[in-house]
Symmetry: D3
Subunit: 245 residues, 6 copies
């Protein structure tokens, strides 16, 4: 793949198509391309804010060392965490590697609010999150393992941004596309984003038809995955204006 393919901005159409596709559908499309391990198993901090699409801006923590990981002072030099908070582009998803460390939180309410004000699409961390009572009410998708009260420097040290990371066992490269819903978070490699978005939207459409048939009592064989007959019936259904009855 060329550098161009990786770093050119995501087309609005691709974003729109991903917004119409579930992560269950996208993982099927990834599997059809040989990628079996692109789903990160995390839970939303606010169950009413799970839907998110955007390119990854990565942040990496390592385990804390007591002499380096101290309560913050205003005179501290800039670190990777602050770069992620202030310099990640609007529309991106901040994806954080903690190595699965749950004894302290990735961000709390103030840094998360700053990300929201700056127009970030969402946050994904394989660690914990602080200030869950506030995050539960914020209109920003935040995925993590669990709430956890202690501040990040209790056990984590920010090291760098925009390097490839592992997050919950999944490789995430800067600018990979992150999509999420209540099933969790999926990572789509940047260079295949356009075609995965298109095929996922197509799959969603025919599954809408299939679900209708199931509710009418039709059996699964021949229906799902669709046989040629089912595909023909699907086309007829589309031509008929997609009746739901």
């Amino acid at each position: 793949m060329s550098e161009d393919a990786v770093f050119k901005p995501l087309a609005q159409q691709t974003i729109d198509l991903f917004k119409a596709a579930s992560t269950a559908t996208i993982t099927m499309q990834l599997m059809k391309r040989g990628l079996r391990q692109m789903a990160i198993n995390l839970r939303p901090m606010n169950p009413d804010a799970t839907r998110m699409v955007g390119p990854a801006f990565t942040l990496r923590y390592i385990p804390a060392r007591e002499d380096l990981a101290q309560p913050p002072k205003p005179t501290d030099p800039v670190n990777a965490q602050r770069i992620a908070v202030e310099q990640s582009p609007a529309g991106s998803v901040v994806v954080v590697s903690t190595g699965g460390e749950l004894r302290s939180g990735t961000f709390g309410d103030i840094l998360t609010a700053r990300l929201m004000v700056r127009g970030i699409a969402g946050v994904v961390s394989d660690g914990g999150m602080r200030d869950a009572p506030i995050l539960q009410t914020m209109n920003l998708p935040v995925f993590a393992v669990c709430p956890t009260a202690p501040p990040s420097m209790t056990s984590l040290l920010p090291i760098d941004v925009q390097r490839p990371i592992g997050c919950g066992g999944v490789p995430v490269f800067p600018n990979d596309i992150i999509v999420s819903d209540a099933d969790g978070v999926v990572v789509v490699p940047r260079h295949m984003a356009d075609e995965v978005a298109r095929d996922s939207a197509d799959q969603e459409h025919i599954e809408k038809f299939i679900a209708l048939q199931v509710m009418k009592g039709r059996a699964i064989p021949g229906l799902y995955p669709p046989s040629d007959e089912t595909r023909a019936a699907y086309k007829a259904w589309m031509a008929a204006g997609e009746p739901t009855g």
Copy 2:
């Protein structure tokens, strides 16, 4: 135990008695019979649909092998997953052994909808479930470990149905009785179902009386478990029409 005892249909009275008993009560009755490990620790996909009683129809997966576990095609031969979806009897609970594999989902919305349409009482899996946003709204009890987006063939291969399985560390034989509520899922061996149902309902009844006494401020000793005096008061309370005041 005779084959007859195991395979004869569950009496409606037994089903009704189980429907009046919590899994907390049923596990106490099982423990009184020496069975300490019959509870499966799982969470409901829809917290408003946790109550379920029915005989087990088992499905077993093994780990996937990449050349065998491919995206489905309509020409695929029938496999064990499809048998479970199309041939499990109405009223039964489909219980699935995944070996604890969480990287892909047991079922998604379409297969689960088919089970619901066919009159299945519920689904229990020691793996994940796809399409959580839809399952969360379906009026069917589905218990699993967590939502997970990827399709089952990402890491699972269906092998057989109606064989004894382990599910979440608990043995499940075909036709064992499955009961669930928000505490999780309990397995009652088929041959002791009738008496466990009866004794559980009895225990629920006296605990209703005990809970009333607790709220009135009575101390636990002599009350719970009930002494002879408490049992006498319980009978008097029943004779008086079970006053809640």
Copy 3:
């Protein structure tokens, strides 16, 4: 520290200050004093009842032995569990060490109701809880790992009360102060309770001002942690009656 400091009743002012502070803030204050591991990662049984402040009353279980851990009878001698249920002081938090054993529940609805009637502030266990459907509706903060149906004697044996315990990897001494919210549970050593309460309340106050600035679009550097200028602006804001606009 003197015995006096540890065992004298908690001042009402300290309780009030803790009630105004999040566990995220309190763990920052503990970290400033060198204590990095005082948060217990547990979930509330009733997400609408997470806020709790009180001194710890500890209960310790060990793994069950089948001949000792039998269904309870009214003639059983008093054991440590029953002492915790009947003799823990009103206002205290019952903190339970199970060694992380999840195959059975710490308490069920009846014992928990008894604790609530007796005026206990809440319950914390590093094991499971029975009768989740009822606990989910009780107005008492109960933190545990998960719902679990089987009765405690299935795998747990109560041994003693008011001894130092480990609960979820955190040391808890009798009369340590327990504070909780949706981020989890925090343990504050008794002898530093007054000053941690005071400093936490101060930190909450200035963070309220900082959050207002973030929502107005101000960047994090110099704001959080606050520089001298920010602290001056904070004082001016207080003098002006803390305007939220």
Copy 4:
């Protein structure tokens, strides 16, 4: 693949080729064919007996139920464990699925001795093994997770033989080829056994040449993986009688 391919006896030449190949090499060959998850991470009970090649004879346990899993009596009916012990063919490897249950042992010294006397090539279990002091001295490759004293019926119930199983997260079909050394155990699907054996032996041969070059101080680039020049030098080395100096 045809049934014939799967069930015809393994050729002696294939066995001999596998005996000359490490599991590290065989997993590289499997990966070249798209199979990434065929290695079972287990340790040998006798570190001096790790080398084994043979077709799998599978045995499946489920979790025990207290009323069914009792100390054995001579009048017990034949069960799956006893079939595996007495009827597995000479030369085969008995592969056991325990679901990762470690609280009891798969086999002890007497059943293992019987397997050895009957000419079994080895034993693989994703559980524990009893009588480790004796197994450590037996000249039979036995791979398991760890030693464990309790008899199998403490927590395991034998269910069936020669069905596909998961063992340590790897799918094992009856007659798949099992190869082991100190790196662990590898499963080769039956239908690709002949070609994997041949290519593994070829790879071992050239790596012997490469290792010689490394010890002489040659750098890795161009050497490993071998460039065309290295392959030519390899052929010259073979033609020269494979000098080790």
Copy 5:
């Protein structure tokens, strides 16, 4: 059971019988009495020193708190760890509960040497051990999870001795009998020690006969467990002087 039964010294004959029995055999005897969970899965620090019999002297740690768990000074008051090291009776086994904490070691070479000099029979800990290079050469059975370098106060705080504890998920009461070999460690409740010792020795004896028959090629059915015929042959073998040929 009476207090007398629990606290009277273990008879030398019982010790001798246990020394002739493997833990595999003893767990079978415990299971026949309904106790399924009395084996602790640990590894010996010195694989050449695994055999140990003696009554338990228990020591309990809780998680460390940074202000209490500091490097030791000679002026520190006596704590529970030092009581275990200096006051445990000769012949006893020091059994330690760490709650599974592995980030620091239970004891190092100096305290272990002191225990050996004082005549302790062995050490069992569900945590780690320091100074493994030295412990590997000491002629004292020490069972733990793994070697670990940091001193105990890094993450552990000693609390009390001779209280009931959980060790690796197994209940251990003071004076319970501890027996170990390469299969791990088994706990025998004090009040059933004499009869378990006797029956274990009997079982060992007949299994010696059975193993001889297996090596002669006899099949398992009727042999193991022994039928009446096998028992008769066993008696004849004993009467004949137990020929090994």
Copy 6:
């Protein structure tokens, strides 16, 4: 700390002092400086080669993506793994972060042999190692979690070198000092290496004296940690030529 302090070569005297100190002693010295979490719990691949001292050269892997992680070809561009193998300085310890991924090996025999030929002091990985049968005989300290056969690209992708990493939950910065023995691996921050080395050697010396006293039967109180009297006796012992009798 200055950059100079971190990057200047380690003095030979410091190396020699570390070679005379156990990791148990070094972790005590680190704890005295407030660092509680600097030990990595790993096992040596060759139990006869555990002793190693040298500055860290770090290598970081992330989880593999199937399209990027393919069997190596001689035309592959240089990657981070190959840089670590060919460009790490003689005398350094290659420390590898795998995120705990055990499904494939960090290095095999050929790359490890290349490191040994190049004069590397040792290898530390929080993942697995391939070709254990050969590594077990190599005179190079290699610490990892376990043997594992599959090649690294099965589940790992090399990303960068000489960046700070987490290895087994411990922060490792380039040029931190790595010391190991059979207790595992310890990381000493570069800027405190000289003084930790000196104080560790001092501690070892007095512990040699203390161990002699223990074997003579002296009790622990006043001896360990040493009182002023013990320290005086220690000095007298040194002055007397350190008699071992």
